[in-house]
Symmetry: C2
Subunit: 434 residues, 2 copies
């Protein structure tokens, strides 16, 4: 669709960061103009005679910015939201999560992934890096909704095989421009050494980055040290797993030597402050990573541990917990957090054409409603968004040039109330209500 | 107004906590019926022939619950939102806040209090305990909007005099049923001993509770120990300030002996996790207070330090930070947090007829939209609200029987866009933009 947004404050997330009275044009899936409008006639001529706007949208001074990139999640865990709370990570996984997951098949994953998509859209999230069960169900749910997704293998000693992972890697890459699939594994503590060696070989075969949970809890790190005499990051690196980059989800408890590895391998730290807070796992040393020049992306983690897919919560926690951890109110300012939530997330997920609002980038963008009391007065837009913003301010979410959410309405090709009912019936059938 | 809410899930916040398919009637300012509707004909007969509903509102399964009570705030600091960030408390106060406040008069406080009221309403907050400049401006702004408010004196060595505080105490109490005024002072570190003695005498004269900031930072506690050989709580108590109860705002850094005083004097701990996080002041020991049986209420603090007036953020932080501090994911569960946010807040603010949804209580209530993806599936309503809720879920806010906010629209007797403009002009005139 060809859309013209005008009267917008544009937070491009590249220099110049902010255009005060800007406009932005979308042609099909791409951004074809971003600027103050002074050169628009000239640009319009270069677009050719067939180009015309199907919709012209007065932004009324609202902010346009790149959508948030959720760099770590387990979307269909919406099924367990508010079901398994107030337990430490280990008991939570073993007593609550794993037994329920054993009963989840295509239908459950498909429907609850769709439910998650709706929540992403309300939060201005335009892409998710999802590690979960049944990749076909995930692929179908995301693709049907028009939602940009990067799946990551969560292989572990309970399955699937390396052959199946490779098959999926080849099957789900290159199918459409919304979806991709990355190599990865659940975590060191759920994988035998031989399996990890096999994943490393595959990473080398495809020259592919590898993603995994790592250093989420102190106990996990100690377990790995007990087993191998190395931290999880050191051990995985010793197997060559990160020779083509990738990312570590959580990374709360890391050493300087771990950080050397992050730096040398180009690994992303993907911080998940909501989940780490709610499961009492710890606070990631965000400013230490930053001081070392290690790029940080942000993830919500799954909605059974968080329990929301709310990037405003995550962004406030990234800066707030860094300030608390450092004992320094000046730590990790708002613009830095916005970069993590947009540009860094896109880079981490290898979505290199979804980083900023600029010509040639995919039209994955959101409109932030500034006509709300929590955004007034407008002193500083990044601070307004990170320090006082909320999902309530997401007025529009566009992915790949399509508006999927606007003024509280969803345009994802399914009846939202029916989806709620379907999901409700599933949990009743599975006996996991309450 | 006489309103019937039906098809509601009612979170009464007293036994029974939840009514699944309930209805609630409001007559003028009060709740006159709460139940499952089975006895409604009978109750209707007792209401007399003149009673009829002016509006019947189908809640469609949404939740009705008591509004949140913001037990510590400085509302008109909306003026400085996003202006003075990323600084430690002391520099923030002395270099940024105090110089701006020196230039704030009636008009500034009045307009920015109104702006804060709008934000409270979007967050489901139905009453605020406000400590700020110019009580007449605050009284006027709140009262004109129909917002329930408890003002607290913030007297300190820079003003006003004890006589003025007493005058205000008598002037702003008993004027209308929305407003009251409490004795209080800014903090031990901004008051001379003689002034505190004077406040104590007044507390004894009126048998009145006293409220103050206390034990917010480690440095503040140490300063008091250096001055008087006692913690702020001990020192204030030694002057008899808390002989009639009251509350301490923040209370991050307290001793067992301080907690003895809280318990003996019936003091409320008013926790402000958003502000304490953003200013890096520390984490209040919420579960220690709870173990000692000390009641906890929740405040947002002012929007220059938080920077939002968002009770969903505060509620998640209360439980999340407790879990992190205790290293225990089971710490401080959702229902407990909801009690702090409603019943305890009301008790702390002496709003004894605004505690729960039950007959005879004031109709200060909110409707939580469950037809949003972040509330689905509905496993457990308190957990849904505290762990995944957001301002986006506030569908309606009613105070004193009047709907002041519904489906994004405000009914507070002023033009919202004009208010934004007025506020914007004020900060330009004051030169505090950006």
């Amino acid at each position: 669709m060809n859309i013209r947004f005008y009267n917008a404050r544009i937070l491009t997330m590249k220099e110049p960061i902010e255009i005060r009275n800007g406009e932005l044009w979308v042609k099909d899936k791409e951004i074809v103009y971003v600027g103050d409008g002074s050169d628009k006639d000239e640009v319009l001529r270069t677009m050719g005679p067939s180009y015309s706007f199907e919709r012209e949208l007065d932004c009324k001074g609202n902010v346009l910015m790149p959508g948030f990139k959720d760099a770590h999640t387990h979307t269909a865990m919406t099924l367990m939201r508010s079901h398994a709370d107030d337990m430490p990570l280990n008991d939570w996984l073993n007593q609550q999560i794993f037994p329920i997951e054993a009963n989840m098949g295509y239908e459950e994953v498909y429907q609850f992934t769709k439910l998650g998509v709706l929540e992403y859209l309300t939060s201005g999230i335009t892409a998710a890096m999802d590690m979960y069960l049944d990749p076909q169900a995930i692929f179908d749910a995301f693709t049907e909704c028009g939602f940009r997704n990067v799946q990551v293998s969560g292989i572990n000693k309970f399955g699937p095989t390396l052959e199946v992972m490779e098959e999926r890697y080849n099957k789900f890459n290159g199918v459409n421009d919304l979806s991709s699939y990355m190599l990865g594994f659940h975590a060191e503590y759920t994988c035998e050494k031989e399996l990890l060696q096999g994943i490393s070989e595959m990473a080398h075969k495809y020259k592919a980055p590898v993603y995994t949970h790592g250093s989420e809890t102190k106990a996990e790190v100690q377990g790995c040290i007990d087993r191998y005499g190395m931290t999880p990051t050191e051990f995985c690196d010793s197997l060559g797993l990160f020779d083509f980059g990738g990312g570590i989800y959580h990374g709360c408890h890391v050493t300087q030597k771990d950080m050397d590895i992050f730096l040398n391998r180009g690994l992303y730290e993907v911080t998940n402050p909501g989940s780490n807070t709610k499961l009492a796992s710890g606070i990631a040393p965000v400013s230490l990573y930053r001081k070392r020049g290690i790029p940080i992306a942000i993830g919500t983690d799954g909605p059974a541990s968080n329990n929301a897919l709310d990037f405003f919560r995550e962004m406030f926690l990234v800066t707030g917990l860094a300030k608390l951890r450092d004992g320094d109110a000046a730590s990790t300012d708002a613009l830095e957090v916005l970069k993590m939530a947009t540009v860094n997330g896109a880079k981490c997920m290898h979505l290199n054409d979804c980083e900023t609002l600029s010509v040639g980038q995919k039209a994955d963008l959101i409109m932030i409603d500034m006509h709300q009391p929590n955004m007034q007065p407008i002193h500083n837009i990044p601070k307004n968004i990170v320090y006082s913003g909320s999902k309530q301010n997401v007025k529009l979410t566009m992915i790949n040039g399509k508006i999927l959410y606007e003024d509280g309405e969803f345009f994802v090709g399914c009846d939202v109330e029916k989806l709620y009912e379907t999901c409700s019936k599933i949990i009743d059938k599975m006996g996991v209500r309450g």
